[in-house]
Amino acid sequence: MRQSKSLYLFIIPGLFFYLLFFVYPTINGLILSFTEWNGFSAKHWVGLDNYKKMLLEDDIFFKALTNNLKFMLYVVVFQTGLSLVFSILLVKNSKSNIFFRALFFFPTILSSISVAFIWGFMYNPNLGVINTALGSMGLEVLAQNWLGNPHLAIYSIAFVQVWAHTGQMVVIFVAGLQSIPEELYEAAHLDGANRWQAFKNVTWPLVAPAATIVVAYTTIQSFKAFDLIFALTGGGPVYSTEILSTYIYHTAFQSSEFGYAAAQSMGFMVIIALITLAQFKLLRGNRAL
């Protein structure tokens, strides 16, 4: 095909921004991670010191990573499970189903910070809705300091994440389910399959690609959470909700250790890359089905 030279003009403006504010910083981050820098004075080369500190001395880094994994596991299991169930319940395009799908999707368009304020109020130990409601039902024993209890806080926030994004996953699953041909169910029915057998042998294998997308997206989305935790607990109490993204932020902008924060970012990037690779494998595995 003939290509005119003017095509190069098409890529210049977008590429300029992308290279300057995304590609160059990504590379620069690597260089920054070998330096000590407080954000103002000159950068000072320290070799691998930041990495040594991160891997050998920094307990909070590993605490944050563990919190990331806890949060991710909880969100992936519940968000995928719930959205699969609700997509099956709402798959038919009836008027009421379309309405409920739209309603469940609604929190997706709210900012995480708005969601954080809504649930910060629900969870408030004194005038919060949850404890008030439990009290009025005579269930005071179940009342908790939902965000102040270090054993509970990360799960309280994970619940909010699930609340905000399950509807989005329902929509993805519904699209997957609606692409399954009706005849397959009729055939299963003629063969005398019951509801569970039809689900196991027809729905499940064919919904696997949608499930992979949902799991992949949910994993990354929950792993890189920031706003919700930043606004709800700021990483506390006692680092119980500190995750890598909030910890990097604190290292840089509270402790002014920009070089070290850059090294942590590299660690974060490697972990994300590993997760993404694992998912590619999973995707391939699914295609073989």
Binding site: S6, F10, F17, F21, F100, L110, S111, F117, G128
Partner: protein
């Protein structure tokens, strides 16, 4: 789905119950917050769940007149609209070039942006802050817009290139034979038929940019140019436990997206889903 045709009564009831419960789980917190925004703190304390005694607009008035939320609103409008226009313009040009280039040029360009989608912005916040500060662009809307364009562009390139690659090449070749320039082909043929996926990206990106907290938090500190999410964070510090006041702010900040969602619901679902599946 045929399997649901002869549904036993008990199953049908469980199904409806589950849906209603989930609906309440979404609706109750949202309604409580909307109602609370019309109460005063003392009233909220005594009556957190119920209907307000009188619908008082005083929290909203305070947000507009004392807290000048209108200013933050305008900042958000400027940042979001400029970013979206920038991204759509750049990414549609890039996607067209990816579509028209053949062989390695197309692959390299595409790969560069696909790789960008795998680097979450949270990973990149320190080096981006460092570059913006080297360029003396911190604490300016220009810096924030430039960064937002760069951060959110890859998804749009991905969606648009995916769409354009499904178009027929003969059509473009025919235009070339007829003597149309690349610019004319892009403007007159490709752009009009790409409108559905351009609007899907536009909506997906609007939600992302309007709600973004991270980069405004990193790059903006002057009160004059704060965006809405950043202003909300500041209100949290200022009003501590004055929830009704903060909720009025939340509702003002969410209103445009909610309004657009009610009007353009189908496009929101398609846009955000396309973005999430691909991003």
């Amino acid at each position: 789905m045929n399997q649901l045709k002869q549904e036993p009564a008990a199953l049908k009831l469980t199904r409806k119950l589950a849906i209603v419960l989930f609906a309440l789980l979404i609706l109750v917190p949202v309604s409580i917050v909307v109602l609370a925004s019309f109460k005063q703190m003392t009233e909220l304390f005594m009556n957190p769940l119920g209907w307000p005694k009188t619908f008082s607009w005083s929290n909203y008035q305070e947000m507009f007149f004392e807290q000048s939320i209108g200013k933050y609103f305008m900042n958000s409008v400027i940042v979001t609209s400029t970013t979206i226009v920038g991204i759509l313009f750049f990414s549609s040009l890039l996607a067209y070039a990816i579509f028209r280039f053949s062989g390695w040029k197309s692959a390299v360009l595409y790969g560069l942006f696909a790789a960008g989608m795998m680097v979450p912005p949270q990973v990149n916040m320190i080096p981006i802050y460092s570059v913006v500060s080297d360029l003396n662009l911190t604490n300016s809307l220009t810096g924030l817009i430039a960064v937002s364009i760069s951060i959110f562009m890859p998804v749009s390139v991905f969606i648009l290139a995916g769409f354009m690659n499904s178009l027929s090449r003969e059509m473009v070749e025919a235009a070339a034979i007829d003597g149309a320039s690349e610019w004319r082909t892009y403007l007159r043929i490709i752009l009009p038929i790409s409108m559905p996926s351009i609007s899907a990206s536009a909506i997906f990106l609007s939600v992302m940019v309007w709600n973004d907290l991270l980069f405004p938090l990193l790059l903006i500190n002057s009160n004059e140019i704060k965006t809405l999410p950043l202003a909300l964070l500041q209100f949290q510090g200022e009003f501590m436990t004055n929830f009704p006041m903060i909720f009025a702010g939340v509702i003002i900040a969410s209103a445009p997206m909610v309004f657009a969602y009610v009007l353009l619901q189908r496009f929101f679902v398609e846009g955000v889903t396309a973005g999430s599946v691909k991003g």
